[in-house]
Structures are given as C-alpha cells and as structure tokens.
C-alpha cells in the first residue's frame, strides 16, 4: 500500500465501546417458536407472499417473491407452518405495522435441496446476479439496498474498483468485526463472486485500525487465495463516520462522489463484508439469506456478544437469551448510538437490516431541554459532508423547506456528528430527518394536487361542453319546431287560398 490515504472534513473520534461484545465468539441464537417476517426488509418495493396460511414450508424455501426491479424475495428461515399473513408491528421508528408472514417452527429445521456450486467461474455475471437476487440478499451494513443492483454497473459505467467495507465506525457495533475474525474464508468466497459479477480485478478491503484481530484473520485468508492477488487490505485510521460509503471512498481514493450521485459515477462499487459473506454462501452453498449476525450489547446486557440470528426471531427473545435487565416494553435502540433509533414493544422481529441491538446506553446527546443556538459553528466543523448544520437548523425549524434544499439538506448522511458536538444539545439530526421526510411528503402531495387540478379542469371542461351541446340541441329543436310551424302555416295559407279560389270559381 503505497498510495497515501485521503481524508474527509469533520468527523469525530468516539469511544469505541466494542470490547464487551467481542469477548466471546459468535453464538447461535436458538430457534424460537414463531418467526415473523416483514415483507419489506429492504429499500424498494415490498415482496409479495407466494405461500398461503396453513402451508408447510422448509428451511430456505421461498415464501415471498420480488415485486418490480428494486426488490428481493424472502425465504423461510426454518421449517414449519405458515400461521398468519397480515399486519404485524415492524422495527421501524414510526412504530407502525406492516404486512408480515408468521411461521410456526416445527423444530426440525429441515433444509430444502441446496445447489452446491464449487466452480463458480462457469457462471455468467448475469446468472450470478440472478442467483444473488433469488437468494434475497440486501446490503447488511444497515441500509438494506438490494445487492444485485449494485453488482450490475450497466453498459454506461465502467467499474475500476470494488471496495469491501469492513470499517464499522459506529461505537458498540461489532458484527462485521466478528464475521471478519471468524469467517474470513467465507468473505473471500463472496469477494470472488462479486469480482466475477462486476468483471473487476481491483479490490480493496478497508478495515479500521481498532480491529487488529480482524485484520490479521483477513490477511491470513487472503494469502491462501490464488485468484485474489489484486485484492489488498487497507488499514485506515479510526474516525467516525468513515464507514459511510462516500466518506470511505474519500479516505481510500481522495475522490468525492458527486452530490446526489452514485459511487458508480466515479467507477467504484462498495459492499459490506457481511454482504460478501452472504453472497458467498448463496452462490457456493446455495443458501439464501435467512440469518445474520446481530450485536447485542449495552450496559444492561449480561451476556453481550454477537449472535447468528434467524430473521423473524422476536427481539425480546434474543434479549432474554442474553439476559438483559430490560423490563418488558422498555425501549431499546436498533443500530448504533449515533444513527440508530429507539424501538419499543416486545413483538418486533429481527430483520435483514438489524445489525445491532443496544440496551442501556447513555445517549450521546442527552435528552435534556435544548438551549438556544449560539452560532458557535462547532456543528459545521464536525460535519463530514461540509454542510452548514446551523443554517439547516434555522430553516428546518421555521419549515422553510425550499431554503433547506438550497443548503443541500439531501446531502446530509444523518451521521449525528453535529448533534453530538452541539453545546446547546439541540437535536439537529432530528430536525434534518423531519425536514427530509416533510419535503418528500410535500412532493407527493404536490403530485396528488396536480392530478386533482387536472381532473377538476377536465370535469369543468366536460360540464361546459355538455351545457353547450344541450343548448345546441335545444336551439335545433326550436328551429325545427319553428320550421315545421312555418310549413304548417304555409300549408294552411295555401289551403285557405285554394278554398278561396275554389269559392270564387264556384
């Protein structure tokens, strides 16, 4: 590694808090009695259920199919019977419900037939992508974007580098760290598949320097791979939010992804190491995505660690397996302390995007009453995207959404650095999230009102036309009536004249 590392503005050095959850190896969460699978666990259109209530399913059997392009299917995480398809609370900050498939497990955990594929080089890149899609794989870093789309650069883009993101910069979370330590060979399998699918040789695995065990494990695995000689591991300094894709690219290459652009625009594709592992399992072993590694930690957790958990496992059962001090219905955090959100309720399932469950964390931004903004500018210094959070705050607060756009609100990655450094404890990110969803909603409403205007105009036009047609008809009828009257009068006059002449003649 000779090329010097770049950097991005702002950012924070945070206490890692990762020790507690890395003391024990990855453990398997035992099978639970029911599994609840939301049909939407990814960005895009929700999947559509292909099974019916009462049907028996095997482990790994497809139970919902992708709908539209940006969508992936869903698989039964264990064998059992479908007992319900319908609304169920989902792990979403809104606390709302959405369509879910509920499986009652039979405890046998019987697999469907799996297609093992040792020689992956025979498969075309299209075939690889299709299989990755069929396996229901989405980005496991937290966003949940369907992975097959990111492996399809299309004809207009040329991919130069594949970056594997093993940075995991947010405090507490260690699922990527542990998967790199324990399953480095599996990750290498996935990298080989991804390189084939993208037809790219150059690959960089980025790992933060606070994970020495992961680095050595990955180096060892890489050394044993003949095909991956153009792959290198780059150790980068620990700084939050280096794990965010645009910031990581800036650190590794010094290049910036254009505002509202894609990493593909500068010839880079980025995947999480956990996703790579899932891709390897799907292609080489024929296993769809049915489980993930979830970090469970926090000071109220007795047995903190990483757990290989089937999707649909109720989070409260996972927490009781780790023996937490949490009371029923007490809120917890899904995701990290910086970007995660509070969830409440006991019925929520583990989904594809659940990387970490935190119980008992001192919130980095204390929930005290915020003081007025003093315009110190600390937030602008901390912002990794060089935005002006204080300006965005004023405009979001006064709901001047037009102005927030001018200040590039949509480039905000919601990393939470600004809220963290704010001396007045203003929940800045909350304001930005509010302004973003509000803007998107207003756009939708604008579309709806435009449609209503067109329909209203059409209706008025139609009514006007009908009125004119009616008038025209009436006029015609009157004219016809007048004409027939005139004809009648003429006839009568003629008849009268005739009789008169007859009379005269006689």
């Amino acid at each position: 590694m000779t090329q010097p590392l770049g950097s991005f503005p702002g950012g924070l050095i945070l206490p890692g808090q990762k020790k507690r959850s890395t003391q024990t190896p990855i453990r398997k969460m035992p099978l639970t009695k029911t599994l609840v699978l939301p049909l939407q666990q990814h960005i895009g259109e929700p999947a559509v259920a292909t099974v019916e209530v009462g049907e028996k399913v095997l482990k790994g059997q497809k139970i919902a199919a992708a709908e539209g392009h940006v969508s992936v299917g869903l698989h039964a995480p264990s064998s059992g019977t479908i007992i319900a398809i319908g609304d169920h609370p989902i792990p979403h900050p809104s606390g709302l419900s959405a369509s879910c498939i509920t499986i009652e497990t039979d405890g046998e955990d019987r697999w469907i037939d799996r297609q093992v594929n040792e020689n992956i080089s025979q498969l075309s890149s299209h075939e690889l992508r299709q299989r990755i899609r069929e396996a229901g794989i989405v980005g496991l870093g937290g966003a949940g974007f369907p992975s097959f789309i990111k492996l399809n650069p299309g004809i207009h883009h040329h991919v130069e580098t594949l970056i594997l993101n093993g940075v995991e910069c947010e405090p507490y979370i260690t699922c990527d760290d542990m998967i790199m330590r324990e399953r480095a060979q599996g990750i290498m399998d996935g990298i080989e598949v991804m390189q084939l699918a993208l037809n790219v040789k150059n690959c960089v695995i980025a790992i933060e320097d606070n994970k020495p065990e992961a680095i050595s494990a990955m180096e060892l695995a890489l050394a044993s791979r003949e095909q991956l000689k153009d792959t290198k591991i780059v150790v980068i300094p620990t700084r939050y939010p280096t794990g965010s894709e645009k910031q990581l690219i800036q650190v590794l290459t010094g290049k910036q992804v254009p505002s509202r652009g894609l990493t593909l625009d500068i010839g880079i594709v980025l995947h999480n190491v956990g996703t790579a592992y899932a891709v390897g399992r799907a292609i080489k072993h024929g296993e769809p995505l049915i489980s993930r590694i979830v970090t469970v930690t926090g000071k109220d957790v007795k047995h903190a660690g990483n757990f290989e958990t089937l999707f649909g496992t109720p989070i409260h059962e996972l927490l009781s397996f780790c023996e937490t001090k949490r009371q029923p219905e007490e809120p917890f955090i899904q995701g990290g302390p910086m970007m995660g959100y509070n969830l409440a309720g006991d019925k929520l399932p583990v989904t594809k995007t659940a990387n970490c469950i935190l119980v008992g964390v001192d919130e980095p931004v204390e929930a005290t009453k915020p003081l007025p903004c003093i315009r110190c500018g600390d937030c602008a210094d901390a912002c990794p995207v060089s935005l002006l959070p204080q300006q965005l705050y004023w405009h979001s607060r006064s709901k001047d959404l037009e102005k927030t756009r001018e200040y590039n609100l949509f480039d905000c990655i919601e990393c939470g650095c600004c809220s963290y450094v704010c001396p007045s404890k203003i929940p800045l990110v909350q304001y930005f999230r509010f302004a973003k969803t509000e803007t998107m909603n207003q756009e939708q409403e604008q579309q709806k009102s435009d449609l209503a205007r067109i329909r209203h105009d059409n209706r008025q036009e139609r009514q006007e036309r009908e009125r004119l047609e009616k008038e025209e008809k009436q006029r015609k009828r009157k004219a016809a009536l007048a004409a027939s009257k005139a004809a009648k009068a003429k006839k009568e006059a003629e008849a009268a004249a005739e009789t008169q002449t007859d009379k005269q003649e006689t």
Binding site: I90, P93, R397, D400, Q430, T437, Q442, Q444, S449
Partner: protein, 186 residues
C-alpha cells in the same frame, strides 16, 4: 424652436411605437400570479374558503380580495408557502373556514348505497364511479377528501376515513413541537 419640437415629436413617436410593439409581441397570456398561487393550493376544491374552488380563491387572493389564511386542507404549510410567494406576513388559519384536520378519504358503504348518483355529481374531481341504481365506489387514489359528497347522500352511506400513515409515507415528528413540555407556550 422648430427643431426642438420636431425632435420631441420624433422621440415621442419612436417610444410610442416601441411601447406599441412591446404590448403586442411581449404580451403575457393569462395572469401568471394566479397560476402560481393556484399551484400552491391543495386542489381539494372543497370550497371551505367560501370560494367556488381553488382557482377562484387564487384569483381573489391575486386581486387582494381574500386573505391567505382561508385554506384549512392546506393548513400551515400552504399559508407559509403563500406568504413566501406574496411576500406578506404569515397568519394563523382563519377559524371561520374550519380547522386543519388530518387527511381523510371518502369511503362508500356499499351495502347501504342505493345508486342515486348524487355524490357523483357533487365530486369535483370525478373520483366516484357508478351508474343510476348501481352501487357507487370511490377511487382512493383520486379522492381529495373534500367531503362534498357527504352532504348530498340521501342514505348517509359515505364515511370520511382518516388515511393511515404507512411506514414509507411516515414522517419524522417535528422536534420543535416535542421540545415543549405540556402547558408551555410556543
């Protein structure tokens, strides 16, 4: 003396021609301010503003005959947008017109509908489908929630149902409202 008069007359003629030319070739069709105002209104065509629809209200505002705070479906956001456009002060919603309510959707109870077509005639956006003596139904995507169909229904079979938030249309709450403890003034 003569030259001065001729010069002034010539100048007057040139500018007159220029103005005449401009008035013909640069003529603005319609009233753009009305269009702009109309674009900001929610197009429910509900008439709560006491005008016959969104466009008449927009025209009245453009002529300075109506205030900007008479649109309950648009609520605070619309008032804000109108204030920005017309460069006037933001005002609270006029109580006379009604209050800002959550978005609703008309739903016809199909068992009770007698097929009288009165609601179809009332709907300003043609969002109700049906024929005489046949059951009617509402296009959920096209309904603006204006409530104009509720009144004419002789059997009272139309209900306004609050549109439920879905996870993908859900909005993060406004933090400036959360900050306030109960009993505090904003």
């Amino acid at each position: 003396m003569f030259t001065a008069i001729i010069a002034i007359a010539l100048l007057a003629l040139t500018f007159g021609l220029l103005l005449g030319f401009a008035s013909i070739y640069f003529k603005v069709e319609g009233d753009p301010i009305v269009e702009q105002i109309d674009k900001l209104l929610p197009q429910t065509q509900c008439g709560q503003c006491s005008f016959a629809g969104c466009r008449p209200y927009a025209e009245a505002m453009a002529n300075g005959e109506a205030d900007i705070n008479r649109c309950p479906p648009g609520g605070e956001a619309t008032i804000q947008a109108l204030a920005n456009l017309l460069e006037v002060e933001v005002k609270p919603l006029d109580d006379e017109c009604g209050e800002e309510k959550p978005k609703t959707l008309a739903v016809i109870d199909e068992d009770r509908c007698i097929g009288c077509t009165l609601c179809i005639q009332a709907c300003p956006v043609d969002a109700i489908l049906g024929a005489a003596k046949h059951m009617h139904t509402v296009f959920a995507d096209e309904c603006t929630g204006c409530e104009l169909c509720v009144e004419p229904c002789p059997v009272d079979c139309i209900d306004m149902i609050e549109t439920k938030a879905k996870p993908n249309t859900w909005r993060w709450p406004d933090p400036s409202r959360i900050d306030l403890q109960p009993g505090e003034q904003s």
